[in-house]
């Protein structure tokens, strides 16, 4: 798995411990990148979480390279690559989709379309606003997915992974979602580029609450079980914050290590 700088949830999903993720956000020695990567560069090679990359779209070719290595070694793994819709305007996206299709690489390109690249609405800067359509240019399978429905995302990802694993064909997924918070710490909650009403409206489609609702309707979980889950997650986050707070900074001698490998 490889991702952009908005990779925190994916790192957790890949199994990187919350303590190591939080400590990395704090820049601490116990972080998953030893405090040298920070928020944008979470890495855990053992769990095959390969970053955390800070240049918009710059990691998309890396995903194809990982797919190339899988094919080279005749492995059955699949590389999944997450990026935002703003990365679709970058040349690296197009060069990579072309080559991934030509070389038949086992890669799932998953575009999380949250509608805004920083403060710029996608339709203001993209001639083609349905990201999936770009797959036509590269003769690639594609699927448009409701990103506010976790089960739909799961099913579409599974289909794409199967296609990569069995046929060695890449897929472009466009997962439509939304970002409630600002782009970064310097961006207020909704900024001047969108209205508060729009944000509030989107929150009603929140995938976590929607999934909770479905689970209770289906009788899979009752309210008490959901509350227990919430409490468990909250405790894990509290513990991670405490762990990060208490962790040491990297030793000053670490400044010059890891520039080159031995």
């Amino acid at each position: 798995m490889i991702s952009s700088y908005r990779e925190h949830g994916q790192a957790l999903a890949r199994g990187v411990p919350a303590n190591a993720v939080m400590a990395e956000l704090y820049g601490k020695a116990t972080g998953c990148s030893s405090g040298k990567g920070g928020s944008m560069h979470l890495f855990d090679a053992g769990r095959r979480f390969l970053g955390g990359h800070g240049i918009v779209g710059g990691h998309i070719p890396l995903a194809a390279g990982i797919g190339f290595a899988i094919r080279y070694k005749k492995g059955d793994q699949v590389c999944i690559c997450y990026f935002g819709e703003a990365a679709v305007n970058i040349g690296a996206f197009h060069e990579t989709l072309n080559m991934a299709s030509v070389y038949k690489l086992p890669v799932v390109f998953c575009c999380e379309n949250n509608r805004y690249g920083m403060g710029t609405a996608f339709e203001r800067v993209a001639a083609v606003t349905d990201v999936v359509e770009h797959a036509c240019s590269y003769d690639m399978a594609a699927e448009l997915v409701n990103g506010m429905d976790p089960l739909a995302v799961y099913a579409a990802t599974e289909r794409a992974v199967d296609r990569a694993r069995k046929g060695g064909h890449p897929t472009l997924l466009e997962v439509r979602t939304y970002r409630y918070m600002g782009h970064s710490m310097s961006d207020p909650l909704h900024g001047v580029y969108r209205t508060k009403e729009e944000v509030e409206e989107q929150k009603k489609r929140d995938p976590i609450s929607q999934l909770a609702l479905k689970l209770t309707e289906d009788g899979a979980l009752d309210q008490a079980a959901l509350d227990a889950l919430d409490a468990e997650v909250r405790a894990e986050v509290e513990e991670a914050v405490h762990f990060a707070d208490e962790s040491p900074d990297p030793d000053p001698a670490e400044l010059g290590t890891h520039v080159l490998a031995d």
Binding site: S33, F43, G51, I55, P61, G65, K73, E95, H258
Partner: protein, 327 residues
């Protein structure tokens, strides 16, 4: 010892390393069916097949990134740029991915990759196709940079580069590909980071690398013949890491230095070499260090103007005369 061209020495290094390690593969424009834009990869597709000799579209950023991704996943890619001029399109992957992933992952993910191709001017290819990127690439921590001048060094440095655990930039030269020289057979490795005296001398050190080694050697011949001056020609071979001990050691003996390079003067390799000399050989210097570089202009097309722009033996001789106060 067999005599080979620089081109065939590189070819031999690639072939031997691909035979030695199944994880080594070559990727780039025209490397396969066409046999290489400069025939460096001649015969490799036939021997190793299309999975290991991979033709790409003209998409430097994309295939450089595929190389880095493959290195992240355990392969040892050799990425050929048809020329380093086109590699500028891939700088994001070289600078932001290859050079940084080991550091920003806290040492978890090494990137054993080679980026190679011809660098600098050939003949009358004009401004966009005649640029030396030595200083740009040597600026970046996380990269190693080598620039062989002879067929033997080309083979030995490329083999070392392929075996290195880090991203290594190999700067070749279109004008060097036909140069012939003796090349040791088989296991010939030139360590990265070691300069070599290509001609010993006692009166002045001429520090150079890549194509300018031939320029310096010619100048040294003229100086010996016409001026009775004994010039030591020190070939840097590696630009990062730089063999500072060899530079200081030679200048401490000769007390004078001229630095020659193909790049532009501003913030060039020579500026770095001069910094080493003023810091560690200040008391041994008998004259200010002078530099001979490409003229500080985009490369002109016209043959006469192009000749004026390039470092030449005459310009090196003139600089040596000045540091010896012969003028």
């Amino acid at each position: 010892m067999p005599t080979l061209t620089y081109r065939d020495a590189l070819n031999q290094a690639l072939r031997e390393e691909m035979q030695r390690d199944p994880n080594v593969f070559l990727m780039g424009e025209e490397v396969g069916v066409y046999q290489g834009a400069y025939k460096v990869s001649r015969g490799l597709l036939e021997e190793f097949g299309p999975m290991r000799v991979v033709d790409t579209p003209i998409a430097e950023l994309g295939f450089a990134g595929i190389g880095v991704g493959a290195a992240m996943a355990g392969l040892r890619p050799v990425i050929e740029f048809m020329t380093w001029n086109f590699a500028v399109l891939a700088l994001d992957q070289i600078v932001n991915s290859a050079a940084k992933i080991l550091y920003e992952s806290g040492g978890q993910i090494p990137i054993p990759i080679v980026f190679r191709g011809p660098n600098g001017a050939a003949l009358q290819l004009a401004a966009q196709h005649s640029q030396a990127w030595d200083a740009w690439l040597s600026h970046i921590p996380g990269l190693k940079v080598v620039a062989p001048a002879t067929p033997a060094d080309a083979k030995g440095l490329l083999k070392s580069a392929i075996r290195d655990a880090n991203p290594v930039i190999v700067l070749e030269g279109e004008m060097l590909y036909n140069v012939k020289g003796e090349v040791p057979e088989g296991e010939h490795l030139v360590p990265i980071g070691q300069a070599e005296v290509k001609r010993p001398g006692g009166d002045v050190t001429v520090i150079c690398h890549s194509k300018t080694v031939a320029v310096a050697l010619k100048a040294a011949e003229q100086l010996a013949e016409h001026e009775g001056v004994s010039a030591e020609v020190l070939d840097l071979r590696s630009l990062r890491p730089l063999d500072e001990a060899a530079i200081v050691g030679s200048v401490a003996r000769t007390n004078r230095a001229v630095v020659v390079e193909e790049g532009w003067p501003h913030c060039g390799i020579g500026a770095q070499v001069v910094d080493v000399i003023q810091r560690d050989a200040f008391d041994q210097l008998d004259a200010p260090v002078l530099r001979v570089t490409q003229a500080d202009v985009p490369m002109p097309y016209n043959k006469q103007l192009e000749r004026l722009a390039k470092p030449s033996p005459d310009r090196v001789v003139a600089a040596v005369r000045r540091v010896l106060y012969l003028d």
